[in-house]
Symmetry: C2
């Protein structure tokens, strides 16, 4: 009588960016695990008999850590409960899904993953920033400023290439390091860089910048996480750069 | 009395992966433009008085081309209509959004973009393939096998790096070229490669392969578009490769 785990993408904040499937699974759950990025209105879809459990783990807000969440999950599934684990955005994008899936697999519990609207695409929609564009931007990358282990930080300059739009999650504190890492490899300082804070919330804010002003603008405008940073490198920008005399590049 | 354009992400096929906001905007529209990848059930949310217009442009199915869609859009907005342009997946991912936004901007029409569940994330959810993973996969890339101009095809080997999961859209015909382009640059042939066809549909199918069998498996299993191809390069795989004597690598 092992239970069922539904890992549910709840979108980036706005309650109406929930999918119909997510609404249904929330309504069916016995136990709902949520954190602080999930809109309170989302919990209104829960059954009156469901148990709601806050497991926020952002910064030092006193919430549980991942190991505690895994323990809670293990106990609930072993009791045969239907657990809805609410994730902001999409569960597979920086959602620590692999660890929670492993708990359910170890108990031979049923697993369902409900995909959601990831924050970068909601940010693109709010600002009308096109993350792919015919003949200009052929690839779209999501990456993070924070990494699990400090010595394995993503090599950002390997990601920002001509024809690519990169969305950085949770990168405000790394703005200066991202800027210098990219410019040190010859990526043009005039590339557009845009910060979108509080995606899907009423206080959503869009700060336009460029690569060579990224950290300065973030500081002057007081940009804070949760925020998405877009850096776009259109093919035409790379061609214009290549056409310049070497002394005038970047 | 210029109209309003809503570019609406409808998710990858399953009608219950529509967001609540998308349902509402479809219900409010006077004119609905849709193509063949949108689930017929989605159209059930339309008002009885709305005009439904098929503008499919996949392959050679007799649908309209983008220029005709733009003309239709221009006329409807100029008449002050509320137009819902339904896009499969998310409008900003390979949805030609920029061109349709430009039409609305040129008429000074109101524009709203409703983000949706993109096909790669739905494919990841169906197969429980984690596209980011703590200390293993720090970045996630979406790219395409097809490009607008043949001479500007994405440089796939520049995208598949240690710590990255790449989702290729519409790439079945390029399987052999992707495989050889990556292996020619020393990317290990044993990396996991997975095809997910018909994401979000009842006939969704998952074909597991590896980089050095990619094209063979696609042909033998009869993999067809619409399909997502995942190639994952975990950091631990790169470390294991680097630890091998040079003669045994790849």
């Amino acid at each position: 009588m092992t239970g069922k785990l539904s890992l549910i993408g709840c979108g980036p904040g706005a309650a109406d960016l929930l999918t119909l499937r997510a609404v249904q699974r929330i309504a069916e759950a016995d136990l709902i695990l949520y954190d602080r990025l999930v809109d309170p209105e989302v919990l209104g879809h829960a059954s009156p008999s469901a148990e709601l459990c806050y497991v926020g783990k952002q910064c030092t807000d006193g919430g549980r850590q991942q190991a505690d969440i895994n323990t809670l999950l293990r106990e609930a599934l072993a009791e045969g409960r239907r657990v809805a684990r609410l994730k902001s955005g999409d569960p597979m994008i920086f959602g620590r899904a692999a660890e929670e899936i492993a708990v359910a697999v170890s108990l031979d519990a049923e697993i369902e993953i409900v995909p959601g609207v990831t924050a970068a695409l909601a940010a693109a929609a709010e600002s009308a920033i096109t993350v792919t564009e015919r003949a200009e931007l052929q690839s779209f990358v999501v990456t993070t400023g924070r990494s699990a282990e400090k010595d394995k930080e993503p090599d950002w300059a390997e990601l920002v290439k001509p024809g690519v739009c990169v969305a950085f999650y949770m990168s405000v504190a790394q703005a200066w390091r991202i800027q210098t890492a990219l410019m040190a490899r010859g990526i043009p300082g005039h590339l557009p860089a845009d910060w979108i804070e509080n995606v899907g919330k009423p206080d959503c804010r869009w700060t336009r910048s460029r690569l060579d002003r990224l950290a300065l603008d973030a500081r002057e405008q007081g940009v804070k996480n949760p925020a998405i940073l877009f850096i776009r490198y259109p093919l035409s920008a790379a061609e214009a750069e290549a056409a310049l005399p070497v002394a005038e590049r970047v």
